[in-house]
Protein backbone atom coordinates (compact mmCIF):
# COMPACT_ATOMS: atom_id res chain seq x y z
CA UNK A 1 0.00 0.00 0.00
CA UNK A 2 1.53 3.28 -1.01
CA UNK A 3 1.41 6.36 1.18
CA UNK A 4 -1.13 8.36 -0.77
CA UNK A 5 -3.83 5.69 -0.68
CA UNK A 6 -3.80 5.45 3.12
CA UNK A 7 -6.56 7.29 4.87
CA UNK A 8 -6.19 7.34 8.64
CA UNK A 9 -9.45 9.11 9.31
CA UNK A 10 -11.40 7.17 6.67
CA UNK A 11 -12.68 10.47 5.31
CA UNK A 12 -10.11 11.02 2.59
CA UNK A 13 -11.57 12.07 -0.72
CA UNK A 14 -9.88 12.00 -4.08
CA UNK A 15 -9.89 15.45 -5.66
CA UNK A 16 -11.36 15.32 -9.12
CA UNK A 17 -9.56 17.48 -11.62
CA UNK A 18 -11.68 16.56 -14.58
CA UNK A 19 -12.17 19.18 -17.24
CA UNK A 20 -15.55 20.89 -17.29
CA UNK A 21 -17.76 20.07 -20.24
CA UNK A 22 -19.53 22.77 -22.23
CA UNK A 23 -22.64 23.05 -20.04
CA UNK A 24 -20.57 23.19 -16.89
CA UNK A 25 -18.25 25.81 -18.31
CA UNK A 26 -21.06 28.29 -18.97
CA UNK A 27 -21.99 27.93 -15.26
CA UNK A 28 -25.72 28.41 -15.88
CA UNK A 29 -26.86 25.08 -14.40
CA UNK A 30 -24.75 25.52 -11.27
CA UNK A 31 -25.98 29.08 -10.85
CA UNK A 32 -29.62 27.96 -11.20
CA UNK A 33 -29.07 25.33 -8.50
CA UNK A 34 -27.57 27.97 -6.24
CA UNK A 35 -30.47 30.33 -6.87
CA UNK A 36 -32.94 27.62 -5.84
CA UNK A 37 -31.08 27.15 -2.56
CA UNK A 38 -31.02 30.85 -1.70
CA UNK A 39 -34.68 31.42 -2.60
CA UNK A 40 -35.65 28.77 -0.06
CA UNK A 41 -33.96 30.82 2.63
CA UNK A 42 -36.10 33.82 1.70
CA UNK A 43 -39.10 32.06 3.23
CA UNK A 44 -37.36 30.55 6.23
CA UNK A 45 -38.07 31.72 9.74
CA UNK A 46 -35.61 34.41 10.78
CA UNK A 47 -33.58 33.59 13.87
CA UNK A 48 -32.90 37.18 14.91
CA UNK A 49 -34.10 38.32 18.34
CA UNK A 50 -35.00 42.03 18.13
CA UNK A 51 -33.22 42.84 21.37
CA UNK A 52 -34.72 45.81 23.15
CA UNK A 53 -38.27 44.73 22.29
CA UNK A 54 -37.73 41.00 22.55
CA UNK A 55 -35.56 39.35 25.18
CA UNK A 56 -33.85 36.04 24.69
CA UNK A 57 -35.13 33.25 26.89
CA UNK A 58 -32.71 32.70 29.75
CA UNK A 59 -31.86 29.40 31.38
CA UNK A 60 -33.54 28.63 34.73
CA UNK A 61 -30.20 28.82 36.56
CA UNK A 62 -29.42 32.18 35.01
CA UNK A 63 -27.52 34.67 37.19
CA UNK A 64 -28.33 38.33 36.62
CA UNK A 65 -27.67 41.70 38.21
CA UNK A 66 -26.37 41.67 41.81
CA UNK A 67 -28.43 43.00 44.68
CA UNK A 68 -27.52 43.80 48.29
CA UNK A 69 -30.32 42.38 50.39
CA UNK A 70 -32.30 43.97 53.20
CA UNK A 71 -33.82 41.89 55.95
CA UNK A 72 -37.51 41.73 56.86
CA UNK A 73 -37.24 45.02 58.80
CA UNK A 74 -35.65 46.79 55.84
CA UNK A 75 -32.13 46.81 57.29
CA UNK A 76 -29.06 46.14 55.14
CA UNK A 77 -27.61 42.69 55.73
CA UNK A 78 -24.07 43.50 54.61
CA UNK A 79 -21.45 43.82 57.35
CA UNK A 80 -18.55 44.65 55.05
CA UNK A 81 -16.66 41.49 56.01
CA UNK A 82 -15.00 41.37 52.60
CA UNK A 83 -15.56 37.64 51.97
CA UNK A 84 -17.16 38.38 48.60
CA UNK A 85 -14.21 40.52 47.56
CA UNK A 86 -11.85 37.69 48.49
CA UNK A 87 -13.95 35.11 46.69
CA UNK A 88 -14.30 37.19 43.54
CA UNK A 89 -12.08 35.66 40.83
CA UNK A 90 -12.31 38.78 38.70
CA UNK A 91 -11.50 41.16 41.56
CA UNK A 92 -14.52 43.24 40.73
CA UNK A 93 -15.74 44.01 44.26
CA UNK A 94 -14.39 46.69 46.60
CA UNK A 95 -15.86 48.09 49.78
CA UNK A 96 -15.20 50.42 52.68
CA UNK A 97 -16.41 49.46 56.13
CA UNK A 98 -17.91 51.88 58.65
CA UNK A 99 -19.21 51.61 62.21
CA UNK A 100 -22.91 51.97 62.88
CA UNK A 101 -23.72 55.13 64.89
CA UNK A 102 -26.41 55.12 67.56
CA UNK A 103 -29.75 55.89 65.96
CA UNK A 104 -28.91 54.01 62.74
CA UNK A 105 -30.18 50.65 64.02
CA UNK A 106 -33.11 50.82 61.60
CA UNK A 107 -30.71 51.12 58.65
CA UNK A 108 -28.08 48.45 59.29
CA UNK A 109 -28.60 45.09 60.93
CA UNK A 110 -25.22 44.80 62.68
CA UNK A 111 -22.68 47.17 64.20
CA UNK A 112 -20.55 47.28 61.06
CA UNK A 113 -21.75 48.10 57.58
CA UNK A 114 -20.40 48.95 54.12
CA UNK A 115 -20.35 52.70 53.58
CA UNK A 116 -19.08 52.14 50.06
CA UNK A 117 -19.78 48.98 48.11
CA UNK A 118 -18.78 48.93 44.46
CA UNK A 119 -18.84 46.29 41.75
CA UNK A 120 -17.03 46.95 38.51
CA UNK A 121 -19.40 45.59 35.89
CA UNK A 122 -16.66 45.48 33.26
CA UNK A 123 -14.78 42.99 35.42
CA UNK A 124 -17.65 40.96 36.83
CA UNK A 125 -18.15 37.59 35.15
CA UNK A 126 -21.42 36.77 36.94
CA UNK A 127 -19.97 33.54 38.37
CA UNK A 128 -21.95 33.87 41.61
CA UNK A 129 -19.02 33.06 43.91
CA UNK A 130 -19.72 36.23 45.94
CA UNK A 131 -23.18 34.91 46.64
CA UNK A 132 -21.73 31.59 47.83
CA UNK A 133 -19.07 33.27 49.98
CA UNK A 134 -21.42 35.66 51.77
CA UNK A 135 -22.00 34.56 55.41
CA UNK A 136 -24.82 37.10 55.97
CA UNK A 137 -26.95 36.31 52.86
CA UNK A 138 -26.33 39.92 51.87
CA UNK A 139 -25.32 39.72 48.22
CA UNK A 140 -27.08 37.59 45.70
CA UNK A 141 -27.51 37.47 41.96
CA UNK A 142 -31.06 38.15 40.86
CA UNK A 143 -32.94 36.79 37.86
CA UNK A 144 -33.22 40.33 36.50
CA UNK A 145 -33.24 40.31 32.70
CA UNK A 146 -31.80 43.82 32.58
CA UNK A 147 -28.33 43.60 31.12
CA UNK A 148 -25.63 46.13 32.06
CA UNK A 149 -26.36 49.25 30.03
CA UNK A 150 -23.78 50.51 27.58
CA UNK A 151 -22.00 53.74 28.50
CA UNK A 152 -19.22 55.90 27.12
CA UNK A 153 -17.12 56.18 30.31
CA UNK A 154 -15.48 53.40 32.26
CA UNK A 155 -16.56 55.04 35.54
CA UNK A 156 -20.18 54.51 34.55
CA UNK A 157 -19.72 50.76 34.81
CA UNK A 158 -18.73 50.88 38.48
CA UNK A 159 -22.02 50.26 40.26
CA UNK A 160 -22.26 51.70 43.74
CA UNK A 161 -24.73 51.17 46.55
CA UNK A 162 -27.28 53.40 44.82
CA UNK A 163 -27.69 50.75 42.15
CA UNK A 164 -26.97 47.61 44.15
CA UNK A 165 -28.96 47.88 47.40
CA UNK A 166 -32.44 46.42 47.26
CA UNK A 167 -34.97 49.28 46.81
CA UNK A 168 -37.00 50.04 49.96
CA UNK A 169 -40.32 49.43 48.22
CA UNK A 170 -39.22 45.91 47.42
CA UNK A 171 -38.18 45.34 51.04
CA UNK A 172 -41.57 46.63 52.25
CA UNK A 173 -43.35 44.33 49.85
CA UNK A 174 -41.23 41.39 50.98
CA UNK A 175 -41.90 41.97 54.68
CA UNK A 176 -45.62 42.40 53.98
CA UNK A 177 -45.77 39.07 52.21
CA UNK A 178 -43.93 37.46 55.14
CA UNK A 179 -46.44 38.67 57.75
Amino acid sequence: MSLDTISLSGRKKEVSNKKMNFWESIYLVAILKGLMITIKHLFKRKVTIKYPEQIREFSPVYRGQHMLKRDEKGRENCTACGMCAVACPAEAITMTAAERKPGEEHLYREEKYASVYEINMLRCIFCGLCEEACPKDAIYLTESKVIVKSASHREDFIYGKDKLVMPLEMAIKNSKSLN
Partner: protein, 346 residues
Protein backbone atom coordinates in the same frame (compact mmCIF):
# COMPACT_ATOMS: atom_id res chain seq x y z
CA UNK B 1 -42.67 72.57 -31.74
CA UNK B 2 -45.33 74.27 -29.68
CA UNK B 3 -44.89 75.27 -26.08
CA UNK B 4 -47.51 72.79 -24.83
CA UNK B 5 -45.39 69.91 -26.08
CA UNK B 6 -42.27 71.33 -24.44
CA UNK B 7 -44.07 71.70 -21.12
CA UNK B 8 -45.53 68.21 -21.43
CA UNK B 9 -42.15 66.65 -22.16
CA UNK B 10 -40.55 68.73 -19.42
CA UNK B 11 -43.00 67.47 -16.83
CA UNK B 12 -42.59 63.92 -18.09
CA UNK B 13 -38.79 64.08 -17.89
CA UNK B 14 -38.92 65.46 -14.34
CA UNK B 15 -41.32 62.69 -13.32
CA UNK B 16 -39.09 60.01 -14.86
CA UNK B 17 -36.06 61.54 -13.14
CA UNK B 18 -37.88 61.54 -9.80
CA UNK B 19 -39.02 57.94 -10.24
CA UNK B 20 -35.52 56.79 -11.20
CA UNK B 21 -34.08 58.51 -8.13
CA UNK B 22 -36.76 57.01 -5.92
CA UNK B 23 -36.18 53.53 -7.33
CA UNK B 24 -32.42 53.90 -6.91
CA UNK B 25 -32.90 55.06 -3.32
CA UNK B 26 -35.12 52.19 -2.41
CA UNK B 27 -32.95 49.72 -4.30
CA UNK B 28 -30.29 50.36 -1.67
CA UNK B 29 -32.77 49.42 1.03
CA UNK B 30 -34.06 46.46 -0.99
CA UNK B 31 -30.51 45.24 -1.49
CA UNK B 32 -29.85 45.18 2.23
CA UNK B 33 -33.23 43.68 3.02
CA UNK B 34 -32.95 40.92 0.42
CA UNK B 35 -29.38 40.17 1.47
CA UNK B 36 -30.62 39.81 5.02
CA UNK B 37 -33.59 37.63 4.10
CA UNK B 38 -31.52 35.31 1.97
CA UNK B 39 -29.16 34.91 4.92
CA UNK B 40 -31.96 34.28 7.45
CA UNK B 41 -31.60 37.73 8.97
CA UNK B 42 -34.06 40.62 9.25
CA UNK B 43 -32.10 43.55 7.83
CA UNK B 44 -32.31 47.25 8.67
CA UNK B 45 -35.50 47.85 10.66
CA UNK B 46 -34.79 50.81 12.94
CA UNK B 47 -35.27 53.90 10.75
CA UNK B 48 -39.02 54.23 10.28
CA UNK B 49 -41.42 51.31 10.14
CA UNK B 50 -39.58 48.23 8.88
CA UNK B 51 -36.60 50.41 7.91
CA UNK B 52 -38.59 52.43 5.35
CA UNK B 53 -36.63 55.63 6.09
CA UNK B 54 -33.22 53.95 5.93
CA UNK B 55 -32.29 55.40 2.48
CA UNK B 56 -32.93 58.93 3.81
CA UNK B 57 -30.77 58.22 6.84
CA UNK B 58 -28.00 56.86 4.60
CA UNK B 59 -28.19 59.89 2.32
CA UNK B 60 -28.07 62.27 5.26
CA UNK B 61 -25.07 60.43 6.64
CA UNK B 62 -23.22 60.69 3.32
CA UNK B 63 -23.96 64.43 3.13
CA UNK B 64 -22.64 64.95 6.65
CA UNK B 65 -19.35 63.13 5.98
CA UNK B 66 -16.08 64.95 5.55
CA UNK B 67 -15.36 65.85 1.92
CA UNK B 68 -11.88 64.49 1.39
CA UNK B 69 -9.88 65.23 -1.73
CA UNK B 70 -6.70 63.21 -2.28
CA UNK B 71 -3.52 65.01 -3.31
CA UNK B 72 -4.05 64.55 -7.02
CA UNK B 73 -3.12 66.76 -9.94
CA UNK B 74 -6.47 65.97 -11.58
CA UNK B 75 -8.95 67.75 -9.33
CA UNK B 76 -11.33 68.40 -12.22
CA UNK B 77 -11.28 64.79 -13.39
CA UNK B 78 -11.73 63.64 -9.80
CA UNK B 79 -15.05 65.48 -9.66
CA UNK B 80 -15.98 64.58 -13.23
CA UNK B 81 -15.81 60.81 -12.55
CA UNK B 82 -18.88 60.40 -10.32
CA UNK B 83 -20.72 63.07 -12.34
CA UNK B 84 -20.32 61.07 -15.56
CA UNK B 85 -21.23 57.85 -13.82
CA UNK B 86 -24.50 59.35 -12.56
CA UNK B 87 -25.37 61.29 -15.73
CA UNK B 88 -24.87 58.33 -18.03
CA UNK B 89 -26.99 56.10 -15.82
CA UNK B 90 -29.83 58.62 -16.08
CA UNK B 91 -29.47 59.56 -19.77
CA UNK B 92 -30.58 56.14 -21.00
CA UNK B 93 -34.04 56.65 -19.57
CA UNK B 94 -34.74 59.29 -22.24
CA UNK B 95 -35.58 56.76 -24.95
CA UNK B 96 -37.34 54.10 -22.88
CA UNK B 97 -41.09 53.74 -23.42
CA UNK B 98 -42.72 53.63 -19.99
CA UNK B 99 -46.16 52.96 -21.39
CA UNK B 100 -48.19 53.36 -24.56
CA UNK B 101 -50.12 56.64 -24.40
CA UNK B 102 -52.69 58.39 -22.27
CA UNK B 103 -55.66 60.56 -23.30
CA UNK B 104 -55.80 63.49 -20.93
CA UNK B 105 -58.57 66.05 -21.69
CA UNK B 106 -58.57 65.25 -25.42
CA UNK B 107 -54.80 65.50 -25.59
CA UNK B 108 -52.64 62.47 -26.38
CA UNK B 109 -49.65 62.08 -24.08
CA UNK B 110 -47.01 59.63 -25.32
CA UNK B 111 -45.36 57.99 -22.32
CA UNK B 112 -41.82 58.37 -23.56
CA UNK B 113 -39.45 61.32 -23.32
CA UNK B 114 -38.40 61.02 -26.94
CA UNK B 115 -39.03 58.40 -29.61
CA UNK B 116 -35.98 58.24 -31.86
CA UNK B 117 -35.48 55.75 -34.68
CA UNK B 118 -32.07 54.60 -33.46
CA UNK B 119 -32.97 54.22 -29.79
CA UNK B 120 -31.03 50.96 -29.58
CA UNK B 121 -27.85 52.63 -30.83
CA UNK B 122 -28.43 55.52 -28.44
CA UNK B 123 -28.72 53.11 -25.50
CA UNK B 124 -25.48 51.42 -26.47
CA UNK B 125 -23.67 54.68 -26.99
CA UNK B 126 -24.68 55.95 -23.56
CA UNK B 127 -23.82 52.65 -21.89
CA UNK B 128 -20.35 52.75 -23.46
CA UNK B 129 -19.71 56.26 -22.18
CA UNK B 130 -20.72 55.07 -18.72
CA UNK B 131 -17.41 53.26 -18.34
CA UNK B 132 -15.62 56.61 -18.46
CA UNK B 133 -17.11 57.43 -15.08
CA UNK B 134 -15.20 54.56 -13.51
CA UNK B 135 -12.10 55.04 -15.66
CA UNK B 136 -11.73 58.76 -15.02
CA UNK B 137 -12.51 58.37 -11.32
CA UNK B 138 -9.98 55.56 -10.91
CA UNK B 139 -7.33 57.43 -12.86
CA UNK B 140 -7.79 60.75 -11.06
CA UNK B 141 -7.71 59.16 -7.62
CA UNK B 142 -3.92 58.84 -7.84
CA UNK B 143 -4.14 55.47 -6.11
CA UNK B 144 -2.84 52.21 -7.53
CA UNK B 145 -5.84 50.22 -6.34
CA UNK B 146 -8.23 52.63 -7.99
CA UNK B 147 -6.22 52.45 -11.17
CA UNK B 148 -6.30 48.65 -11.13
CA UNK B 149 -10.05 48.77 -10.64
CA UNK B 150 -10.42 51.23 -13.51
CA UNK B 151 -8.36 48.94 -15.76
CA UNK B 152 -10.42 45.91 -14.84
CA UNK B 153 -13.71 47.73 -15.24
CA UNK B 154 -12.86 49.11 -18.66
CA UNK B 155 -11.54 45.83 -20.07
CA UNK B 156 -14.55 44.00 -18.67
CA UNK B 157 -17.08 46.45 -20.04
CA UNK B 158 -15.46 46.55 -23.47
CA UNK B 159 -15.40 42.74 -23.68
CA UNK B 160 -19.00 42.29 -22.64
CA UNK B 161 -20.28 45.11 -24.79
CA UNK B 162 -19.32 43.06 -27.87
CA UNK B 163 -21.41 40.08 -26.81
CA UNK B 164 -24.24 42.36 -25.73
CA UNK B 165 -24.27 44.13 -29.09
CA UNK B 166 -24.23 40.83 -30.97
CA UNK B 167 -27.13 39.44 -28.94
CA UNK B 168 -29.11 42.57 -29.78
CA UNK B 169 -28.35 42.20 -33.50
CA UNK B 170 -30.42 39.01 -33.57
CA UNK B 171 -33.29 40.82 -31.88
CA UNK B 172 -33.11 43.69 -34.36
CA UNK B 173 -33.07 41.23 -37.27
CA UNK B 174 -36.26 39.72 -35.92
CA UNK B 175 -38.15 42.91 -35.12
CA UNK B 176 -36.83 44.90 -38.09
CA UNK B 177 -36.61 48.14 -36.15
CA UNK B 178 -34.31 49.93 -33.72
CA UNK B 179 -37.02 52.06 -32.15
CA UNK B 180 -37.75 50.85 -28.63
CA UNK B 181 -41.32 52.08 -29.00
CA UNK B 182 -41.96 49.79 -31.97
CA UNK B 183 -40.15 46.86 -30.34
CA UNK B 184 -42.42 47.30 -27.32
CA UNK B 185 -45.53 47.56 -29.49
CA UNK B 186 -44.63 44.38 -31.41
CA UNK B 187 -44.72 42.27 -28.27
CA UNK B 188 -48.48 42.58 -27.87
CA UNK B 189 -50.23 40.17 -25.53
CA UNK B 190 -47.93 37.28 -24.70
CA UNK B 191 -45.86 37.76 -27.87
CA UNK B 192 -42.76 38.48 -25.80
CA UNK B 193 -39.34 38.41 -27.43
CA UNK B 194 -37.95 36.12 -24.76
CA UNK B 195 -39.92 33.24 -26.31
CA UNK B 196 -38.38 33.87 -29.73
CA UNK B 197 -34.89 34.77 -28.54
CA UNK B 198 -34.20 32.67 -25.41
CA UNK B 199 -30.47 32.35 -26.13
CA UNK B 200 -30.20 36.03 -26.99
CA UNK B 201 -31.97 36.87 -23.75
CA UNK B 202 -29.57 34.80 -21.63
CA UNK B 203 -26.54 36.38 -23.30
CA UNK B 204 -28.03 39.84 -22.86
CA UNK B 205 -28.84 39.12 -19.22
CA UNK B 206 -25.29 37.95 -18.46
CA UNK B 207 -23.87 41.00 -20.22
CA UNK B 208 -26.23 43.27 -18.29
CA UNK B 209 -24.74 41.97 -15.07
CA UNK B 210 -21.29 42.81 -16.41
CA UNK B 211 -22.34 46.23 -17.68
CA UNK B 212 -23.82 47.26 -14.34
CA UNK B 213 -20.78 45.93 -12.45
CA UNK B 214 -22.88 43.59 -10.36
CA UNK B 215 -21.82 40.30 -8.81
CA UNK B 216 -20.51 37.92 -10.23
CA UNK B 217 -18.80 40.54 -12.41
CA UNK B 218 -18.01 43.13 -9.75
CA UNK B 219 -14.26 42.77 -10.08
CA UNK B 220 -13.92 46.54 -10.33
CA UNK B 221 -14.75 46.93 -6.67
CA UNK B 222 -13.82 43.63 -5.10
CA UNK B 223 -13.07 44.53 -1.53
CA UNK B 224 -10.71 41.65 -0.85
CA UNK B 225 -8.20 42.69 -3.50
CA UNK B 226 -8.78 46.34 -4.31
CA UNK B 227 -10.14 47.92 -1.11
CA UNK B 228 -13.09 49.90 -2.51
CA UNK B 229 -12.02 49.68 -6.14
CA UNK B 230 -12.51 52.85 -8.14
CA UNK B 231 -14.17 54.66 -5.22
CA UNK B 232 -11.43 53.96 -2.67
CA UNK B 233 -10.45 57.64 -2.49
CA UNK B 234 -13.95 59.03 -2.65
CA UNK B 235 -15.90 60.23 0.35
CA UNK B 236 -19.08 62.08 1.20
CA UNK B 237 -21.57 62.69 -1.61
CA UNK B 238 -19.07 62.00 -4.42
CA UNK B 239 -18.94 58.46 -3.12
CA UNK B 240 -22.71 58.61 -2.78
CA UNK B 241 -22.96 59.52 -6.46
CA UNK B 242 -20.99 56.44 -7.47
CA UNK B 243 -23.11 54.14 -5.33
CA UNK B 244 -26.31 55.90 -6.37
CA UNK B 245 -25.32 55.85 -10.04
CA UNK B 246 -24.77 52.12 -9.79
CA UNK B 247 -28.29 51.56 -8.48
CA UNK B 248 -29.77 53.94 -11.03
CA UNK B 249 -27.93 51.96 -13.74
CA UNK B 250 -29.38 48.77 -12.31
CA UNK B 251 -32.90 50.20 -12.51
CA UNK B 252 -32.39 51.37 -16.09
CA UNK B 253 -30.82 48.07 -17.06
CA UNK B 254 -33.79 46.19 -15.59
CA UNK B 255 -36.08 48.47 -17.57
CA UNK B 256 -34.17 47.69 -20.79
CA UNK B 257 -34.40 43.96 -20.09
CA UNK B 258 -38.14 44.21 -19.45
CA UNK B 259 -38.74 46.32 -22.56
CA UNK B 260 -36.58 44.35 -24.99
CA UNK B 261 -37.40 40.81 -23.95
CA UNK B 262 -40.27 40.70 -21.48
CA UNK B 263 -42.96 42.50 -23.43
CA UNK B 264 -42.48 46.02 -22.03
CA UNK B 265 -45.89 47.34 -20.90
CA UNK B 266 -47.82 44.50 -22.58
CA UNK B 267 -49.71 41.94 -20.60
CA UNK B 268 -52.15 39.19 -21.58
CA UNK B 269 -55.70 40.47 -21.77
CA UNK B 270 -54.67 44.06 -22.51
CA UNK B 271 -57.09 44.35 -25.43
CA UNK B 272 -59.92 42.99 -23.28
CA UNK B 273 -59.20 45.65 -20.63
CA UNK B 274 -59.05 48.33 -23.33
CA UNK B 275 -62.48 47.29 -24.67
CA UNK B 276 -64.24 46.99 -21.35
CA UNK B 277 -62.58 49.54 -19.08
CA UNK B 278 -61.26 52.02 -21.66
CA UNK B 279 -57.89 52.54 -23.31
CA UNK B 280 -56.55 54.79 -20.55
CA UNK B 281 -57.16 52.15 -17.89
CA UNK B 282 -55.41 49.53 -20.04
CA UNK B 283 -52.38 51.78 -20.47
CA UNK B 284 -52.18 52.72 -16.80
CA UNK B 285 -52.26 49.02 -15.97
CA UNK B 286 -49.53 48.62 -18.59
CA UNK B 287 -47.29 51.06 -16.70
CA UNK B 288 -47.92 49.14 -13.48
CA UNK B 289 -47.11 45.86 -15.24
CA UNK B 290 -43.87 47.32 -16.63
CA UNK B 291 -42.81 48.40 -13.14
CA UNK B 292 -43.62 44.96 -11.75
CA UNK B 293 -41.36 43.46 -14.41
CA UNK B 294 -38.63 45.98 -13.61
CA UNK B 295 -38.89 45.21 -9.91
CA UNK B 296 -38.62 41.52 -10.65
CA UNK B 297 -35.38 42.09 -12.55
CA UNK B 298 -34.00 44.29 -9.76
CA UNK B 299 -34.84 41.49 -7.36
CA UNK B 300 -33.14 39.03 -9.70
CA UNK B 301 -29.97 41.14 -9.73
CA UNK B 302 -29.89 41.05 -5.94
CA UNK B 303 -30.87 37.41 -5.74
CA UNK B 304 -27.90 36.49 -7.94
CA UNK B 305 -25.60 38.79 -6.01
CA UNK B 306 -26.29 37.02 -2.73
CA UNK B 307 -26.05 33.57 -4.29
CA UNK B 308 -22.78 33.27 -6.15
CA UNK B 309 -19.23 34.48 -5.56
CA UNK B 310 -17.44 36.64 -8.09
CA UNK B 311 -15.49 35.21 -10.98
CA UNK B 312 -11.75 35.11 -11.17
CA UNK B 313 -10.40 37.54 -13.74
CA UNK B 314 -9.36 34.87 -16.26
CA UNK B 315 -12.75 33.14 -15.87
CA UNK B 316 -14.41 36.45 -16.62
CA UNK B 317 -12.43 36.94 -19.81
CA UNK B 318 -12.88 33.31 -20.89
CA UNK B 319 -16.62 33.52 -20.40
CA UNK B 320 -16.85 36.77 -22.32
CA UNK B 321 -14.65 36.03 -25.31
CA UNK B 322 -14.76 32.26 -25.64
CA UNK B 323 -18.33 31.52 -24.61
CA UNK B 324 -20.68 34.48 -25.00
CA UNK B 325 -19.36 35.93 -28.26
CA UNK B 326 -19.41 32.60 -30.19
CA UNK B 327 -22.85 31.86 -28.73
CA UNK B 328 -24.09 35.30 -29.78
CA UNK B 329 -22.77 34.82 -33.31
CA UNK B 330 -24.38 31.37 -33.48
CA UNK B 331 -27.60 33.00 -32.34
CA UNK B 332 -27.41 35.52 -35.18
CA UNK B 333 -26.85 32.76 -37.73
CA UNK B 334 -29.68 30.69 -36.29
CA UNK B 335 -32.04 33.67 -36.30
CA UNK B 336 -31.12 34.47 -39.91
CA UNK B 337 -31.74 30.91 -41.05
CA UNK B 338 -35.09 30.73 -39.26
CA UNK B 339 -36.19 34.07 -40.71
CA UNK B 340 -35.39 32.90 -44.27
CA UNK B 341 -37.18 29.58 -43.74
CA UNK B 342 -40.18 31.32 -42.22
CA UNK B 343 -40.34 33.78 -45.14
CA UNK B 344 -40.25 31.02 -47.74
CA UNK B 345 -42.52 28.36 -46.31
CA UNK B 346 -44.92 30.11 -43.91
Amino acid sequence: MDSALIIEKGIFIVVIFAITMLMAMYSTLAERKIAAWLQDRIGPNRAGKGGILQPLADGLKLFAKEEFMPDTPNKFLFILGPAISMTMALLTSAVLPWGDKLEIAGHTVILQATDIDVAMLYVFAVLSVGVYGIMIGGWASNNKYSLMAALRASSQLISYEVAMGLSIVALIMMSGTMSLREIAAQQEGMNWNVFYQPLGFIIFLVCSFAETNRTPFDLAECEAELIGGHHTEYSSMKMGFYLFGEYAAMFISSAILAILYFGAYNYPGMSWVAENWGANMANILGIVVLFIKICFFIFFYMWVRWTIPRFRYDQLMNLGWKMLIPLAIANIVLTGVIIIIADKYL
